[in-house]
Amino acid sequence: MKRPLWMGAVIGTALTTGRAIAEERFPPPEFETGYKIPALKYPLPKWVGMEYLDVALLLVALAVGTYLVYTKRSRRGLALLSILSLFYFGFYREGCVCAIGSIQNVALALGQTSYQIPLHVVGFFVLPLLFALFFGRTFCAAVCPHGAIQELVVWRPVQVPRWLEHALGLLAYVYLGAAVLFAATGTSFILCQYDPFIAIFRLSGGFEMFLLGGCFLVIGLFVGRPYCRFLCPLGVLLGLFSHVSQKRVTIYPDHCVQCRLCEDSCPYNAIREPTIDDSHCDNTTSRRRLLVYLALAPVLLLLFGFLGSQFGAPMARAHATVQLQERLEQEDRGAVDGTTDASTAFRDAGRSRKELAAATATIQRRFHIGGWLLGLWVGLVVAVKLIGLSVRRGRDEYEADRGACVACGRCFPYCPADEDVRLQALASLEAESVEVRDETALLE
């Protein structure tokens, strides 16, 4: 496997030519006044254990979140935990490394053997997924700072039309595929580059970064968690994993009384209502549709795969090596005036054009294959979505969608089956009746 140039020396040996070494050995002036040459001092690094502390805190936060969702069923506790997470993982640790971004480190480590992934990044990748496999998206509920900041700004949630929700939901899958492709080829970490909240967490960054973050927050006032639902690539993985999780978030502690109170409490369109039993009339058409979609699936896959492969070459242009190669070719042809810093640096360093061309070819080949894979992945997602939509599943009760539910617990306080809710409701009823009685007494 050919290393890309920028990864050239991960455990870099800085010494270059013999000339440079000769210069280093050159003795400094002989001072006669007893002047001592100061040592080369760099500022001391930060504490090493911080990253491992982060992993430990992540584990603790996940455990507490899971406890709050399943045992305490406490919306208040989850809100508190998400504020804590937002301040620690978001504002204090400045949002980096995060579990979302760790997908790219994993992709890079799998795509490029020369990259050694830091241990704590593995922790950030594995722990949320592991929890999702057993307890659903408790990471999203209150641990992820990206989720937390959006969770806290939900103000007037509106219902996104179902069709739009399904369509936008596909974006996240495409984004995941693209992020993996760009990371595995060593091109760039697009999730980090386009992260909407990182500028807010750091309280620094370019205007466009703040604009992006601000937009997401403004949209988030009305559309609950827009990033989580429509873009977050980790959300895709966590959603898939929580489909088969051992435990699931239930709205009611014991059984559903079908009071429909929870339906409006979810800002994320994640509560599914019970199905009306109309199977006798609908069955044949939906079954036929399913068959058509099943037959169409391979065609879709191939179509999208082909489309993806067509995007391979343009996508490869995002890689610095490819850009450099193209720039040098243009300069050779005289198609452009002047030089860029990169092309000048390349020529000045006297590096081999042949090696650069070979590296470029390797990257382009990988993008061609990657384009096919990305296309197939998108095709697969679309096909599964279509099939999923045409399969009707019977529900007797209000249920949280296993994939879409972020376990925020907003529906808990609405459920009259919940003991606390019942007691509260009773209390308010009593107070009301007392008031009514008082009023009637006054009237009399």
Binding site: T17, G18, R19, A22, E23, R25, F26, P27, P29, E30, R75, R76, V154, W155, R156, P157, V158, Q159, V160, P161, Q193, Y194, G206, F207, E208, M209, L211, L212, C215, F216, V218, I219, F222, V223, G224, D264, S265, C266, P267, T340, D341, A342, T344, R347, D348, G350, R410, P413, Y414
Partner: protein, 336 residues
């Protein structure tokens, strides 16, 4: 705790607002995507500009390049010319002889990385290494080697007369005078010149020595931007040179780095940083430019161009970037 807000169906106003903000988001994404290498730039006061000195007035350039010889090296180290105009170069760990027409005569391998080379009238090649000297026959056969270096020694240049070998030691900041058997006769440290107690100021391993026409030893004092002459017994005679980025002076912190003597007794100097090769009259007045820094490059990695002169007055420059011997010839007769 108040119950969370209720989700309501989307109404027109909110849908419009969301659509507008979505557009703004997409604009932001495009802005970030276009954030190329030139998205932001500091003002001109933050960039180091010497380009105006890099352009040489063409009327001052009295030489033109008439040929070049490719060397077999990765890294070039030094050049000298024999009395028959044969060209000797060192590079990597090799010594190569080219005939005057450019064809390769022989290549001999060396035991260490050489730093400097010269050839005596008697056709003995002297090659300096960081801390020792080796003598070779004109055919490239090693005859003698001596080590008379101190701990700090860093030999950077070598010159010969029939009776002595002058070795510039940039590490010790002095020129050692040896007899041909390798006995140290004396050291020229340059101290006491113009009431200057410091002697040679050499911030980097560039310290050149050359034999002049009238039996004087010419030594570069790069930190003072000066070329100084000494008698063979180490007495200071005179010096010339001035500090300036402009073409008639020596640029930067420590220049020139190489010196050669033309058949008529004029001098050729080579500077690093602003890579310029220029000629000066025997009294040190500026004469003309052989090649300006636009002829070499890039200057960012301070590389030096060693120079030599043949019997016809051609100037041979050892280009470290192209790894070639570049030959410059005078276009007009020298005006006196």
């Amino acid at each position: 705790m108040p119950n969370p807000p209720k989700t309501t169906p989307m109404n027109g106003g909110i849908a419009m607002l969301i659509a507008a903000v979505t557009v703004a988001t997409i604009v932001a994404v495009i802005l970030i995507g276009r954030q190329g290498p030139h998205s932001k730039s500091l003002g001109p006061q933050f960039s180091y500009e010497v380009d105006r000195y890099r352009h040489t007035d063409p009327s001052l350039v009295k030489y033109q390049e008439t040929g070049s010889i490719q060397t077999p090296y990765e890294t070039v180290h030094g050049i000298c010319v024999g009395s028959d105009d044969s060209i000797y170069t060192i590079g990597d760990r090799k010594l190569t002889k080219h005939s005057p027409d450019g064809s390769e005569v022989f290549t001999a391998s060396l035991d260490a990385t050489p730093t400097c080379i010269t050839i005596s009238d008697g056709e003995r090649i002297a090659i300096g290494f960081r801390n020792h000297i080796e003598l070779f026959s004109a055919k490239g056969k090693r005859e003698k080697s001596w080590t008379k270096a101190g701990v700090k020694s860093h030999f950077t240049s070598i010159a010969t007369s029939p009776s002595a070998v002058y070795v510039a030691d940039a590490g010790k900041r002095s020129v050692g005078v040896y007899d041909w058997s390798g006995n140290l006769l004396q050291e020229i440290d340059g101290k006491g010149v113009d009431d200057d107690a410091r002697g040679f100021v050499i911030p980097s391993p560039y310290f050149d020595v050359a034999m002049g026409k009238e039996g004087l030893v010419w030594i570069i004092n790069p930190g003072r931007h000066r070329v100084e002459s000494y008698t063979t017994d180490g007495q200071f005679e005179l010096s010339w040179g001035k500090t300036a980025m402009k073409v008639d002076g020596f640029s930067g912190c420590c220049n020139p780095v190489h010196l050669a003597v033309l058949p008529d007794g004029d001098f050729v100097t080579s500077e690093k940083g602003l890579n310029r090769i220029k000629t000066f009259a025997a009294d040190g007045s500026f004469r003309d430019v052989v090649a300006g820094s636009e002829a070499f490059g890039p200057a960012e990695n301070a590389d030096d161009i060693d120079i030599a002169v043949d019997s016809k007055g051609r100037i041979l420059a050892l280009d470290p970037w192209k790894r070639t011997i570049r030959i410059f010839e005078r276009t007009t007769a020298p005006s006196r």
